[in-house]
């Protein structure tokens, strides 16, 4: 319970500042609360379907598909599948670490691990919808088109930079908590 309240500290602080503003500089306080209300309303109007889509993707696109298809001999198919799963999965960059680690352990090329992480972090179907909504279709499309090659380039770049050093540096992680 205490943990739950702790998460709301930032919001409570904001409300407090809003109150003080409203008492001493009413016009600023009203502007602040009004802008917050506008953004909140806009988000609450379309967040429910996005979360339903995330839930559905999460249930129907199991991450094990990646693990089954990325052995050393899986080739391009494994990479394509892992990218597709990455775009459908929910969660921030760090939620992708354990999945990418599994890829690496299964013998996936290092460049593909980097590509997988990059896709996981930047190209998500539900996220793109948020982006289109708030920054416009043009912005979202431009970012998507530019990011994809950038991810692939940095994948091969990192692989080159780590050539030879990989074995020595990669720790044997046995304490994965997931």
């Amino acid at each position: 319970m205490k943990e739950k309240i702790k998460k709301y500290y930032l919001f409570m602080l904001v409300v407090l500042v809003d109150l003080i503003l409203w008492l001493y500089w009413p016009d600023k306080g009203i502007t602040a609360v009004k802008s917050t209300g506008d953004y909140l309303l806009e988000m609450l109007l379309f967040i429910p379907p996005i979360f339903i889509l995330i839930g559905l993707l999460d249930v129907w696109v199991p991450r094990e598909i990646v693990e089954k298809n990325v052995g050393p001999d899986s080739g391009v198919k494994g990479v394509v599948i892992s990218i597709l799963v990455a775009t459908a999965a929910a969660g921030p960059l760090y939620a992708g670490f354990p999945v990418a680690y599994t890829l690496m352990k299964k013998g996936c090329r290092l460049s593909n691990v980097v590509i997988f992480l990059g896709t996981w972090a930047t190209i998500k179907v539900p996220m793109l919808m948020m982006e289109i909504k708030f920054l416009g279709l043009e912005f979202a499309a431009a970012r998507l088109i530019l990011t994809l090659p950038a991810i692939i380039i940095s994948g091969y770049l990192v692989e080159k930079l780590l050539a030879g050093a990989r074995k020595a540096d990669t720790p044997e992680v046995n304490k994965i908590t997931g």
Partner: protein, 158 residues
């Protein structure tokens, strides 16, 4: 219009899913509710901050730092994006409020790209999985790519 498409696709998804597997559909709805509740505290907090920023920080100040595509401003906002740990759901409204407050498309593009791809706070976790060298080079290359992508987006979008 956009909202209608979203609601319709979510409804169709639910219908198809429910036809195939009721249990999985229930699970998906539960996940949807849970992830929303998890997000709620930071959502309320950040959106509250957005309101304060729009009310208190003068437009000219933000515009003079992040509105004229100066290299210093872009470096600062990329650094902020690299060290910030925010769910993407909150990041996009925040980015849109930056635009509203006078920041340029390039600055906002750099902020979003670094925020999503570079993780300074999560680096210790990344090191645990992939080692120091991997983490360093992956993050550095992501930072460089972000600083290249940002101005390009600025060229494409008006």
């Amino acid at each position: 219009m956009f909202n209608i498409i979203l609601f319709v696709s979510a409804a169709i998804g639910l219908l198809i899913s429910n036809q195939r597997d009721k249990k999985k559909t229930k699970q998906a709805l539960k996940k949807a509710v849970n992830s929303f509740l998890n997000l709620l505290p930071s959502l309320l907090g950040i959106i509250g901050l957005i309101g304060l920023m729009l009310a208190l920080v003068p437009r000219e100040l933000i515009a003079s730092f992040f509105g004229n595509n100066s290299p210093v401003g872009i470096m600062i906002i990329s650094a902020i994006g690299s060290v910030t740990l925010l769910p993407a759901f909150v990041a996009f409204p925040l980015a849109s409020s930056f635009l509203e407050a006078g920041a340029s498309i390039v600055a906002v593009a750099c902020f979003i790209t670094t925020l999503l791809m570079v993780g300074v706070i999560t680096a210790p976790l990344e090191i645990e999985y992939f080692g120091k060298k991997f983490t360093f080079w992956r993050n550095l290359s992501a930072l460089v790519m972000a600083v290249i992508i940002g101005p390009l987006i600025g060229v494409i979008v008006r």
